[in-house]
């Protein structure tokens, strides 16, 4: 099933789960989505909606959901004007400059939407690797590409995101 159909089934649960998780701010270092995805899967299981015959499908889906959740979290925090009080929590070790508790995620989300039209594979990689926390070999297996390709793609897209968010007069937006 396509993402759009599954999302309404899963999204409310994920939001609940993520909200609780993010409030904890337990880890002083990087965001660890592992526990979050554990919860997600288990909630789905309890919903009796489980058994995804295609693992790749499930995980790319979960990654998209995670991105959505974190974006929503950032938007809510912004609306509540809580931004200043929250610590800088990097989305991942590889992108320490990207703060989960702030505008960064909102901007990244928008940038990824633009990129989707041009190069969807890179967007999937960002979701799997940084939002979901998959390892490089895992991501490679799920997308059926080599680990070298994964590294290359990530290097490029990280730089692109950094340029978009942090460098003034940034790159021409696609379309």
């Amino acid at each position: 099933m396509a993402f759009q159909e599954l999302a309404p089934l899963v999204y409310p649960h994920l939001r609940q789960v993520a909200a609780a998780y993010l409030r904890r701010e337990a880890s002083a270092n990087t965001l660890q989505p592992t526990a979050l995805v554990n919860e997600l899967y288990l909630k789905l299981l309890q919903q009796r909606n489980a058994d995804w015959s295609d693992r790749a499908h499930f995980f790319t889906f979960a990654a998209k959901m995670m991105r959505r959740i974190l974006t929503d979290h950032a938007r809510t925090a912004k609306a509540d004007k809580r931004g200043a009080d929250l610590p800088h929590v990097p989305l991942s070790d590889e992108v320490p400059w990207l703060n989960v508790n702030g505008d960064d995620v909102i901007d990244v989300n928008r940038a990824l939407d633009e990129l989707e039209k041009l190069d969807p594979r890179k967007v999937r990689l960002v979701e799997l690797r940084y939002f979901l926390g998959c390892t490089v070999p895992e991501a490679a297996a799920l997308l059926e590409i080599s680990t070298a390709t994964v590294e290359r793609d990530l290097t490029m897209v990280r730089s692109w995101l950094y340029a978009k968010l942090r460098l003034p007069g940034s790159l021409a937006p696609p379309l």
């Binding site: 309404p8 009796r48 070790d93 692109w160 950094y162």
Partner: protein
């Protein structure tokens, strides 16, 4: 340039950017600008973009992780002074400290929640840890010395300081061989056993929590996640969240199921596995994926001899081949038994586990081995197949059938589903989505049929007393809903639905007294079958079935956990509703039978239901509306008696009942936000006015009808396309007219009744199976209109209207025979009168 061209152009640019970017990174830094310039071949925009990317790459690299948080103030912890930080634990930071009052020279470990983690949640955990540690006194468990609250209000614990290293580091640094590593674990086991004897389960055993002193004495730290076994079985969500390291967590912990001492056995098993092999039994520990899979299915642990590396062998002072041999045989069996996914098959206690370890060390036969052979017996292998959670099996069946059927049709689902309420069934949503495609009925029928056959096949195979049969009950219920649940959108296969519901009922019938889920399925199946039977006018069967649904519903209401829900409602509410349904069945039967005994029976049942609702209201405040709702039905039953006997007294009583409903449902006039509530409220006012009009009290009926009219007007305006909302308004006009008749305001009555008439569809358009009740409505409007016309001396008009009514009534299944007879009677009476000019 059209947009499509722009897109292609940009995609190409992107590719070029990418290839130049990567190529530039290969080039030496000083030569890069030139390389880029040449590669871009005069395209200055492209060059600018690539340069930006390279700059970004460079800058991003410089950024390090954000600095750690500043520690708590020194000098804020009673007589203890902090020396330095020694680690970040599961929920707090640990500092080396010493007593400042000069009395003792002791070095201590001071554990405190750091400022950014300060919260109610952690404070409680701290308290728990303190309580637990205070009880424990064992040489291999860190002793709790003191505790308190800092000047900043943070709780802290003071513990014996263990100068040592985590167990795996200790073993690796000294390159301990396998046997020594096992020996090192024995005191740890003894400590855990001791905790278990004190009814404490640790729940977070991992290498970081087991320190070994330089003398080789292991100590168990960090009881922050421990739990007293007495305080209830299920792990709440908060405690599950508290688990930072799923790596050593047992499958039942991951699922949030009841924790037993076997949980700690599991963790120790994983720990031992790592100590002797240097690897995690289930693959890559960083991956979130294997963690999930462990929770739901039996992930085979890797054979210990297969995961060792040269490095691991070196750290165990052995050659790789020798280590491999060492790890086969009994040790492998012991490990396997310790980390079995099924807690019942693990070592039931740490004592048994360490017993087998000692046997292994002494070269004696281990218990684990014997049991593995037993498992290989065919019977057990079969049971194992159903080891997965039955719910997963079922959704698998349903989802798989759906997916494969969809694939067969080559459908590619692109559209966004706007699902208003989260449905429980994956299959329902698939069907809904398929249903939106043109000509897809066939696909839906196919999917459902396949699913049914797969379920039947499963049922035939399922062992007699297994959980699977119970889970199948739930699945048949779901299937029935899809096939044809009354009052919902379904594929309309009522016969199929009935068969599925009956299967569900049969399977759920042997539910034990505390099988809440199964009892809920039983209640639901019986109720739904009854609903279908009511629709088919099979009243005695429906009533009998509903009667049989009451005992399990009652049990659920009074004994199941408070939060337990049946079909989305709390069990107590479901019990009341089941009683209400029985009343409705009795009322429908009474309407057909048309005897006062039948009505009295329905009345008694509704009165009982209201009383029940009132009684349960005290304990369940959310149920306040139920008493009001069924009070309305008390009114209907009374009206039935009134119609039957002609005795107005019944209508007076009915009015009282309806007034009660209005008061219960419409507390504050326009503050209910949801349209459904306003609708229900409007209906209630309408029924009240109807009862009052029948009781002959026009003066009171009019304001009531007015309330109904106001609400229904609003709703009709808000929902112009809803046939129901429009009909509600028509009914409201009719009620108003009736009220005015009762108050002898005939002119006004005619006005409102004509209004109602004008809103009705033409009589000829009413179908034979008149589900909307249009014929009934016509009858009501025309009866009243005839009355008003008669009273204003327009007999001809009145007769005409009654004839129209007859036309509407005849041949429509929804109209009762006595009503038609009544019309004829009225008509007859009219024609007996001399005609007047209008």
């Amino acid at each position: 340039m059209n947009p499509h061209e722009v897109a292609t152009l940009t995609a190409e640019r992107w590719r070029r950017m990418e290839s130049i970017f990567h190529a530039a990174l290969e080039v030496e830094e000083s030569a890069r600008p030139d390389f880029v310039f040449r590669s871009c071949d005069g395209d200055s925009v492209l060059q600018g973009e690539v340069e930006q990317l390279l700059l970004a790459f460079h800058e991003a690299q410089q950024i390090k992780s954000p600095p750690a948080f500043a520690g708590p103030q020194r000098g804020a912890f009673g007589e203890y002074r902090i020396d330095c930080e020694i680690g970040a634990g599961g929920m707090g930071t640990v500092y080396l400290a010493h007593r400042a009052d000069g009395q003792f020279e002791q070095k201590v470990a001071l554990k405190v929640v750091s400022a950014h983690l300060r919260s109610q949640f952690f404070a409680e955990r701290f308290r728990t840890e303190r309580q637990i540690l205070a009880q424990l006194n064992h040489p291999n468990i860190t002793r709790l010395l003191d505790g308190g609250v800092s000047a900043d209000g943070d709780p802290y614990l003071v513990m014996e300081y263990v100068d040592g290293r985590p167990i795996h580091q200790f073993c690796d640094t000294r390159q301990l061989p396998v046997a020594d590593r096992i020996r090192l674990l024995l005191p740890v086991c003894s400590a855990v056993e001791y905790a278990h004897r004190n009814l404490i389960v640790h729940r977070d055993l991992k290498p970081g929590n087991i320190f070994v002193t330089s003398e080789g004495v292991p100590k168990l730290l960090d009881f922050g996640t421990a739990k007293l076994l007495l305080t209830g079985a299920t792990d709440s969500a908060t405690t599950r969240f508290g688990m930072m390291t799923p790596r050593y967590a047992s499958p039942e912990q991951l699922r949030g199921e009841p924790i037993t001492t076997a949980t700690d056995v599991y963790s120790l098993g994983v720990l031992l596995y790592e100590l002797v092999t240097g690897a995690w039994p289930f693959g890559d520990p960083q991956s979130p994926i294997t963690g999930l899979e462990r929770a739901i299915k039996d992930v085979e642990p890797a054979r210990p001899s297969s995961v060792i590396t040269d490095e691991a062998a070196r750290l165990r002072s052995e050659s790789k081949s020798k280590l491999g041999r060492l790890l086969e045989g009994d040790l492998s069996s012991v490990l396997k038994k310790a980390i079995d996914m099924d807690p019942r098959r693990r070592y039931s206690s740490v004592e048994h586990f360490s017993g087998d370890l000692q046997r292994y060390l002494h070269g004696e036969p281990v218990l684990a081995r014997r049991q593995t052979l037993f498992y290989r017996s065919a019977r057990f292998a079969q049971r194992n197949r159903w080891g997965m959670t039955a719910g997963v099996v079922l959704s698998a069946v349903l989802a798989f059938t759906a997916l494969s059927a969809l694939q067969q049709y080559g459908r590619n689902q692109q559209r966004l589903v706007q699902v208003r309420e989260l449905s429980e069934s994956y299959l329902t949503d698939v069907l809904n989505e398929v249903g939106k495609l043109p000509g897809s009925m066939k696909a839906r029928l196919l999917i459902v049929d396949r699913a049914r056959r797969n379920l039947d096949r499963l049922l035939a195979d399922a062992p007699r007393d297994s959980d699977l049969r119970h889970a199948l009950a739930g699945a048949y219920l779901q299937l029935g809903d899809i096939q044809g649940r009354p009052f919902t959108v379904s594929i309309g296969d009522t016969a199929g639905a009935l068969a599925s519901y009956r299967k569900a009922e049969a399977l759920a019938a042997d539910a034990g007294p505390r099988d809440w889920d199964l009892l809920a399925i039983l209640v639901r199946a019986r109720r739904t079958i009854a609903q279908i039977e009511i629709r088919g006018n099979e009243y005695p069967q429906a009533m009998a079935l509903l009667q049989s649904a009451l005992p399990p519903a009652r049990r659920l209401a009074t004994e199941a956990p408070r939060e337990f829900k049946i079909d989305g409602s709390p069990a107590a509410a479901a019990y009341v509703e089941t009683n209400g349904m029985l009343g409705n069945a009795m009322l429908s039967s009474a309407n057909a039978e048309y005897t006062s005994t039948a009505f009295e029976r329905a009345l008694a049942q509704f009165r009982r239901t209201v009383a029940m609702a009132e009684e349960l209201q005290a304990a369940h405040p959310g149920m306040a509306h139920l008493a009001a709702k069924y009070s309305q039905f008390v009114g209907f039953a009374l009206e039935g008696l009134g119609d039957l006997t002609g005795d107005r007294m019944y209508f007076g009583e009915s009015a009282i009942a309806h007034r009660r409903t209005v008061e219960g449902l419409c507390k504050t006039p326009d503050s209910q936000p949801a349209p459904q509530w306003r609708r229900t409220c409007g209906e209630a006012w309408g029924e009240l006015s109807w009862a009052l009009h029948n009781a002959g009290d026009g003066e009171q009926a009019i304001p009531a009808a007015g309330e109904a009219l106001t609400r229904m007007e609003k709703l009709a305006k808000e929902e112009p396309t809803s046939a129901e909302a429009q009909q509600d308004l028509t009914i409201a006009y009719m009620h108003m007219g009736a009220a005015e008749n009762a108050a002898a305001r005939y002119r006004e009555a005619i006005g409102h009744l004509r209004m109602a008439e004008s809103r009705m569809p033409p009589v000829v358009q009413i179908p034979a199976n008149d589900t909307m009740g249009a014929a009934e409505l016509y009858l009501s409007i025309y009866r009243e209109l005839a009355k008003s016309l008669e009273q204003t001396h327009n007999t001809v008009g009145a007769a005409k209207v009654l004839e129209e009514a007859l036309t509407a009534a005849e041949g429509r299944s929804s109209v009762a025979r006595w009503e038609i007879a009544d019309l004829h009677r009225r008509l007859g009476r009219l024609s007996g009168q001399p005609t007047h000019r209008p």
